[in-house]
Structures are given as structure tokens and as C-alpha cells.
């Protein structure tokens, strides 16, 4: 029964990693850039939902607050793309990566100014609610996390596989110039990608705040989500979710069965191992280059 409990808590935290990783993969799939600020965007989402609903700040109900937060996050994604990313379209991946690292630092600073560095928690009836199935204790927020994540992944998978816009986004990432020739509005596609990434960060942020307390440093969770994205292969949406679940599942077991201090090394060790033995992840999408 203890094993089952560990699996369950692993699944729910794995879903959070998976959601952040989905944000990475989405932007990578559509613009071939890696957004190092995704974790920080999630942190902004968490803190804004906390402020919107907290009785000491705005005190809105969840039905108003969640759409409002999602609009804010979409706007943040849109603005980041419009102000910064468009200007270096077509530059090397590394330049964009460094730019997003800087944006991440900036977001952390802004969050620090607005919210301070004390951890904050979501005020909600959801948090304290638990159901007991025999010895297994399931909190409602964990169920919420798992269900939302699976639904979102399926939705995004369908979006990229079947819809016209999704396919156009993939085309943009594979060859910008050719996409231009095919009449795809490349810049609009990029904006759209970042808006969706912002929304994803918002959802991840909300779910994370339902599980634990948040402060501006929470954004560094993004590094663990990298492990998730890499394990899944950077270009694969279901892969990101699987990677997130692997990282999430390994963690509680490592805490339980490994000596203190070694347990939180595990995600990174897995990451390094995957990169050494399967450099492009388990769901590999790489083909050999023709000269």
C-alpha cells in the first residue's frame, strides 16, 4: 500500500514536471528554440492566481480568477514574443536560449518586487480535502493535477497531429524559409506558440499552487522539467509527459529508499544517463543529416 501511495504522489508531481516540459516541447516544436523562462512563467502564474484569490488581496472566486489568470499568462507569453523573440528570429538556438535565460532572471526579479520572497499558499477548499481508500490517501488536488495534465496532453497532441494550424506550426519549425514559401504566416505562428506556452505555464502554475507553496525561486523547478523534456525527447509531446512522469515517479522512491542527500540527485543522474546513451531522448525524432 505504501508503494501505491508513493506511485500516486509521484504521478501528481510528475504531471507538473510534464506540464512545464510540455511548454518547453511546444516552443521547441514550433520555433526550434528552448524557453529557459518556462519555469519562471509558471511561477508568475502561480503567484498571480494566489493573489487573485487570496482574501487579503483581491479575493475573487475561482470561476473569475482562473480565466483572468490565463488571460494574464497568455498576454505575458504574447508580449515576451512580441518584444524580445521576434527581433532575433532566425538567430542561433543559443542566442535565443540566452535571451530566455535573461528573461527568466527578469521575471524572477519582477516577482520578487511584487510579491516579495516569502512563500505563499493558495487559499482554497480544495487543498485540505482528502479521500481515504483503505490505507491509500488521495488528495483531491492531486487528482485534479493528473486529470488536467492528461487532458491537456491529448488536446495538444491532437492539435499538432490533426489541425491545420498545428501542422503549420511544425512546418515553421522544420524550415522557416520553406514555410514562408508555402504561405504560412510564420510570425503569427510564432506569436501563437508563445501564447499557448503562456497558457500552459498558467495551468501548470495553478496546479502547482494547489499542491504546494510558491515563491519566486520556484521557477528553478524548470531545471527538473528539462530532465523530463530530455528524457521524452525534446520534440515529442507525449514524450514530455512520459518524461515528467518518470522524473516524478523516481523522486518519491529515491526519497524512500536511498540515503539522505542522494535522493534529489536522481532526476539529474537520469538526465545525464539519457543524454549519454540516447542523446535525443527515448522518443527520438532525429534523422541523420545529408550533406
Amino acid at each position: 500500500m505504501e508503494i501505491l501511495q508513493l506511485i500516486f504522489s509521484g504521478l501528481s508531481s510528475g504531471c507538473i514536471y510534464g506540464l512545464i516540459a510540455l511548454g518547453f516541447v511546444l516552443i521547441y516544436k514550433a520555433t526550434e528554440a528552448v524557453n529557459f523562462a518556462q519555469g519562471d512563467m509558471m511561477m508568475i502564474g502561480s503567484l498571480s492566481i494566489i493573489s487573485l484569490t487570496s482574501s487579503t488581496a483581491l479575493g475573487l472566486s475561482f470561476i473569475v480568477a482562473i480565466p483572468l489568470m490565463l488571460i494574464i499568462m497568455a498576454l505575458i507569453g504574447f508580449l515576451i514574443e512580441k518584444i524580445f523573440i521576434t527581433h532575433i528570429t532566425g538567430e542561433s538556438q543559443i542566442a535565443i536560449a540566452i535571451l530566455t535565460i535573461a528573461i527568466g532572471f527578469g521575471l524572477r526579479f519582477i516577482a520578487g518586487v511584487i510579491w516579495g520572497y516569502d512563500p505563499q499558499t493558495l487559499e482554497s477548499a480544495l487543498i485540505g480535502t482528502y479521500y481515504n481508500f483503505g490505507e491509500l490517501v488521495i488528495s483531491i488536488s492531486e487528482v485534479l493535477v493528473i486529470v488536467t495534465t492528461i487532458a491537456l496532453t491529448l488536446l495538444l497532441y491532437y492539435f499538432f497531429a490533426k489541425t491545420k494550424i498545428g501542422v503549420a506550426m511544425v512546418a515553421v519549425s522544420q524550415n522557416q524559409l520553406a514555410a514562408y514559401y508555402m504561405g504560412i504566416p510564420v510570425k503569427k505562428m510564432q506569436s501563437l506558440t508563445w501564447i499557448i506556452a503562456g497558457l500552459l505555464a498558467g495551468v501548470a502554475g495553478f496546479l502547482y499552487s494547489a499542491k504546494s507553496s510558491v515563491d519566486p525561486i520556484t521557477g528553478l523547478l524548470g531545471i527538473k522539467a528539462f530532465a523530463a523534456a530530455v528524457i521524452g525527447g525534446f520534440g515529442s509531446l507525449p514524450g514530455a509527459l512520459v518524461g515528467g512522469l518518470v522524473v516524478g515517479l523516481v523522486e518519491p522512491f529515491a526519497v524512500r529508499f536511498l540515503p539522505v542527500g542522494y535522493s534529489h540527485l536522481m532526476p539529474y543522474i537520469i538526465l545525464v544517463m539519457v543524454l549519454i546513451f540516447r542523446p535525443h531522448g527515448i522518443f527520438s525524432q532525429t534523422y541523420s543529416k545529408k550533406v
Binding site: T31, E32, I94, G106, R108, Y117, Q176, L275, H280, T286
Partner: protein
């Protein structure tokens, strides 16, 4: 505009372009050597720190600027350098003069060990891997408590060479000269590596791995050597950093530090030694400038900037964003443009440094 009339191939690879060039650098060296005689101890300390950052920046520059591999984990090598130089001195009793290169070599060994299994990785994957390694090293330091002092960290005693004291607090001018000497030595090493076959192999794998291997460059070996040399430099910087900070623990060398080193060379200008120095100057000047600005604003408007924690990183990230958007070649690029403007006056055209418009192509189809 000075034109060099070339009668052999030597001028192409000479360290200095002409006599004027050489004079400039000689003058710079003399000024740097004379600084301790007319600056107070605080500024000498800051200068020393700048030089240490510059060494670390040069280390990363070899990797990023010359061989095109991006590392987000150079704090790991800084840490290796700092810890091993202290451990070699205190546990094995080696004198500093042997412990310093040994610390560099240990870092280099770590670098090669990381590089060998990961040579198949490109760009962003390598960046993520090194990021993970820098997190791992931070934790390994805590776990290896008997050797590293665990969470409590270590104390670096004063550097002593042949009975002369180079302490941070007792003899900062001596420490400054020691670091300056090492920096000049390492700059010469860097410059000379670039004109050896291995240095050109670095550039060839930076520009195209496929063509490099077609030309007979051993890509795996070259990447490993680049990593080794880079981490050697960074290890030396770490060794000095440890002695400069006098006390340090695992938190000193965190992920933020690795990112800072990368950001530093981007702000300075990737691909040139000057860039490492410009970046280092920005890094050390920034806190001074901010505290000056803070007092200035506080007196004028009574707005207290102290109320914003982390304002340094905020301003630094702003500078970085502006640099990447408007001057992708960094401060060195801006300097190059200004110099060309005056050298060619009035013939300079705006398009001279314009880069070709490039379109993105997927790296998955490599």
C-alpha cells in the same frame, strides 16, 4: 588606417598585428602593474576580482567562442578548482605554486571526462547536460563531506610562495600582481592555442562539424581537448576565486554562477579575448554602479532602491536583453564598430557589419 604589407605568411598568425598594436598592449600591461601604487585597497580588490572573472570568462570563451559548444555548467569547474587547490595544500601539503596547476589539471580531467561521452550532443542538449552537471557537482560537494567540509565549506589560508605572503586581507597588492601575472600568461596561452592546428580545428568544428570531419579533423578528440583546455582555465580561475573569497561552500558555486559566466561572455562579446575582459568588467562594476546610483536616487527622490531585493540581477538581465537584441556581438562588437568608424572616417557605412539574414532550419534533421 594602417596597412600591413605582407611579404610572408607570418603576419597572418603573429600575436600582434604591428608595432603600434604591440605598444598599446605593453602600455596597458604597465598601467595595470602600476595600479596598486595609486589606488586604495578596495579598488585593488575589485580589480583582482575582475581579473579572476576574466580568466573564467576566457575559459568559457574557448569552449563557446572558439569551438562552438555551449556550457551552462562552468561553476562545476570553478568549484573543482577552488576545492582542489585548498585540499591539495591542506591535506597533501603541496605548496601553492604546484597546487595551482594541479587544481587546473584536475578540473581539466573532469572536463575531458564530461566531454568524452557527450561529444554526440549539440547546442542546446549540451547546454542542458552541463546545467545538470553543475547541479550534480553542487550536491556531490555536500555529500563528499570528509574532503570538502560539506555544508560548512572550507577556509582558504593565505597564498604563500617562497615565503612571500599573497593574502587577501594582509597583502592584496601582492595577490593582485600574482593574478595579473597568471592572467597575462593565460592570455598568451590562449592566443597561441588559436594559431596551432588544434586551435584551427576548434574553429572548424564550430563552423561545421560535417565539413570538419570531412577535412580530417577528429571531432571527438577536438571537442574533448576544447573542454579540457576550457575547464583548465576555469579551474585556475576557481582556485584564485577560492583564495580571494577566503571562505566558500557549495552554495558559492551554484547554477546561477554558471549562468552568470555565460552571460558575462555574451555581454562582452563571444569569440574574442577582449569579450571576456569586457564582460568581467561589467560584472564587477555593476554592483559598484548600482550602489552609487542607489545613493544618488535616494538623495534626489528619497526612493529607496534597497527595497527591491535582487535589483542587481534585474539590471543585469536588462543589460543582457538589450545587448542580445541590439548588439549581438557584445561590447567588443560595439568597440569594433566605433574603431572602424574612426579609422575609416568619413567612409564608414552602416552596413559594414551587417549580418546576413538567416532563416531557421530544424536541428532535428541534422
Amino acid at each position: 588606417m594602417r596597412t600591413i604589407f605582407k611579404t610572408s605568411y607570418d603576419p597572418d598568425i603573429n600575436l600582434f598585428k604591428d608595432r603600434f598594436h604591440r605598444l598599446c598592449y605593453a602600455a596597458l600591461c604597465i598601467v595595470l602593474i602600476l595600479f596598486p601604487f595609486f589606488l586604495n585597497e578596495y579598488f585593488i580588490g575589485e580589480l583582482t576580482l575582475t581579473l579572476i572573472w576574466a580568466i573564467a570568462g576566457m575559459g568559457l570563451m574557448i569552449l563557446v567562442g572558439q569551438s562552438g559548444q555551449v556550457s551552462l555548467g562552468h561553476s562545476a569547474f570553478m568549484a573543482t578548482g577552488a576545492y582542489s587547490v585548498v585540499i591539495l595544500q591542506s591535506k597533501l601539503g603541496l605548496p601553492f605554486i604546484f597546487a595551482l596547476p594541479a587544481a587546473g589539471l584536475i578540473s581539466a580531467l573532469l572536463g575531458v571526462l564530461i566531454a568524452l561521452p557527450t561529444t554526440r550532443l549539440h547546442g542546446i542538449y549540451l547546454a542542458i547536460l552541463t546545467l545538470a552537471i553543475s547541479v550534480l557537482v553542487e550536491d556531490i560537494i555536500v555529500l563528499a563531506e570528509p574532503l570538502t567540509g560539506g555544508v560548512n565549506g572550507m577556509f582558504a589560508s593565505d597564498i604563500v610562495i617562497f615565503g612571500i605572503n599573497f593574502g587577501r586581507y594582509s597583502n592584496i597588492a601582492n595577490l593582485y600582481w600574482l593574478v595579473l601575472f597568471t592572467t597575462i600568461l593565460l592570455v598568451l596561452v590562449y592566443k597561441n592555442i588559436l594559431r596551432t592546428p588544434i586551435g584551427r580545428a576548434f574553429a572548424s568544428i564550430r563552423d561545421s562539424e560535417v565539413s570538419a570531419s570531412a577535412m580530417g579533423v577528429n571531432v571527438v578528440l577536438t571537442k574533448a581537448v576544447a573542454f579540457g583546455v576550457s575547464s583548465f582555465f576555469t579551474g585556475i580561475a576557481g582556485a584564485f576565486f577560492g583564495h580571494f573569497a577566503t571562505a566558500f561552500n557549495y552554495e558559492t558555486f551554484n547554477v546561477i554562477m554558471s549562468i552568470t559566466i555565460l552571460l558575462m561572455i555574451v555581454v562582452g562579446g563571444v569569440g574574442s579575448i577582449h569579450g571576456a575582459f569586457f564582460g568581467a568588467i561589467v560584472i564587477t562594476l555593476l554592483p559598484v554602479l548600482i550602489s552609487f546610483l542607489r545613493d544618488f536616487i535616494f538623495q534626489g527622490t528619497s526612493i529607496n532602491l534597497m527595497a527591491f531585493p535582487g535589483i542587481e540581477t534585474g539590471i543585469f538581465s536588462l543589460i543582457l536583453i538589450l545587448v542580445i537584441l541590439f548588439e549581438p556581438r557584445g561590447i567588443y562588437g560595439a568597440w569594433l564598430k566605433t574603431r572602424t568608424y574612426f579609422e575609416l572616417f568619413p567612409l564608414y557605412r552602416k552596413d559594414m557589419f551587417r549580418r546576413q539574414k538567416s532563416y531557421l532550419k530544424t536541428e532535428r534533421l541534422r
